[in-house]
Symmetry: C2
């Protein structure tokens, strides 16, 4: 099962030729999720060879243009390419109206069902789950209501060692118990140990997405122990005043959040257009948290 994040755009409000507006494509156990959808996202998907009809869930963190202006174009293109499979869009409540009005004026009928799910619980919550994954949202602190996201695999059942069971003539009735890690007592009162007939699956992995937000400790429980955290770092610490005023973070602050949340790897993005290179951000964050990388458009990061 794959779990990986492709950066489609990692720029801030003002895009540059190197850093397009925010969007990420996440494949979590073959569930295909788009997080945010800045202008030109459909173009980036095309450029990096991602089939966008696979996307079933689109999460929009907030309604600043660099996070959603590309949504209407993507939906139109999905329609023109003949999509008939439904799509769910999760985001602020005004989003549906904005999309519907633009389709109406063009006299366009979208040939697939779009379901809008409003994310406005101040406590956050689960926005999607199935047998394999779970996606949660949680409020951050920005100029307008903004959510972060946590995508995680569900704990998997243990794998059965079929040959071992057969060799020892263990009843098939034991399987559900072994899968849960429970020992099994047969009709003769004999105990068979789960450890001997099954092996633990890989630990479930998790990904946290926090853009845009100022330094905001209440997000920590929501991203606790994620394997990979993407946190915005619009500024360097030298501009911490500006970061505070605009409700953004510095590279150092992102690293502090990573340490306090006990994450394994930190990805930084959403760098202001004033920073041409990534080096200063990476260096600043690494003084606090070593396993840091500044992302680039087109790169794919494994969650492991």
């Amino acid at each position: 099962m794959s779990f990986e994040v492709t950066i489609l755009g990692c720029g801030a409000a003002l895009p540059t030729s190197k850093r397009k507006p925010t969007s990420q494509f996440v494949n979590c156990n073959e569930r295909f999720i788009l997080i945010d959808c800045g202008e030109g996202t459909q173009n980036q998907l095309r450029k990096y060879g991602i089939k966008f009809q696979r996307i079933n869930h689109i999460l929009i963190s907030h309604l600043h243009g660099d996070h959603f202006f590309g949504l209407i174009g993507l939906l139109s293109t999905m329609h023109l390419l003949g999509r008939d499979k439904g799509l769910t869009i999760y985001g602020p409540k005004e989003l549906e109206q904005i999309i519907r009005i633009q389709l109406e004026v063009g006299g366009s009928k979208i040939g697939f069902k779009i379901k809008f799910v409003v994310l406005d619980n101040p406590e956050g919550g689960i926005l999607f789950e199935d047998n394999l994954i779970e996606i949660r949202y949680f409020p951050m602190r920005h100029r307008i209501p903004t959510n972060g996201f946590r995508i995680q695999e569900k704990p998997k059942e243990r794998s059965i060692i079929g040959e071992e069971m057969k060799a020892n003539n263990i009843s098939l009735k034991a399987i559900p118990f072994f899968r849960q890690g429970l020992d099994f007592t047969d009709e003769n009162g004999q105990i068979h140990f789960a450890d001997e007939y099954s092996i633990a699956s890989k630990t479930p992995k998790s990904y946290g997405y926090c853009s845009d937000t100022s330094y905001f400790e209440p997000i920590i429980p929501h991203i606790k122990n994620v394997d990979v955290l993407y946190h915005e770092a619009t500024f360097l610490e030298a501009m911490s005043k500006r970061a505070k005023e605009t409700f953004h973070s510095t590279a150092k602050q992102a690293a502090e959040i990573a340490v306090k949340a006990g994450v394994k790897k930190l990805l930084l993005g959403h760098l202001s257009a004033r920073y041409e290179s990534n080096e200063a951000h990476e260096a600043e964050a690494k003084t606090i948290f070593e396993n840091t990388e500044v992302v680039e458009d087109g790169m794919t990061y494994l969650v492991r």
Copy 2:
């Protein structure tokens, strides 16, 4: 004085990596005009090195997404780059609401004045004029209300041959007459001929833009004798039925319009994504009108 058209995008509803959604940048006598603004137009302006703060007029032909989804992003970026100079946007009446609602939800204040001018006169008319240029619009035939545009230089006054006037001791009072091509009779009743003291300026040039439309002869008077005509050619004649159904044109039809309007040069664009190369369109149109060229993103065409 320059008069040139840069193609920022010449694709149809479904953009490709080679042909972006519709947008053109026109410099007519240092008046800077953007015609249509598909998704990613700001990116194309950047790519081709066009300073977009110079743009003072944005003309939107109609409200299909491939002609205006990039407008909101362009306005946001103009604001972020510190624009304070006003901007006028000409288009269908619903456009203002679509733009305003998107700015509102983001809590964004645009730091410059935007004036919306609704183009809904079924006769068309002049949408802008000053001492040097004039821009007209006219309805075409498409699935939703759609306008074409004609941008033209105003006739220029004749240039005065100063040395000749001085040598013959002609009164400065004669200048306004000579500029208009009128002869001047002095206080002694002597006639001085305009031809001898002034020369005619270059003939005013004109550019016509027709996208999107089905074959529609009523546009002909509006684009009569333009030096350069851009006309959509979404399909080839083999798909004329599909062209009719979707209110688009074929390359042959565009060429027929060019002939009937007596234009000097024909540019074809808005090719359906199904056509990878330009050759068939060019060949088809040339059987009717030789001076035809299929445009490409990034190319600049002189109006002369």
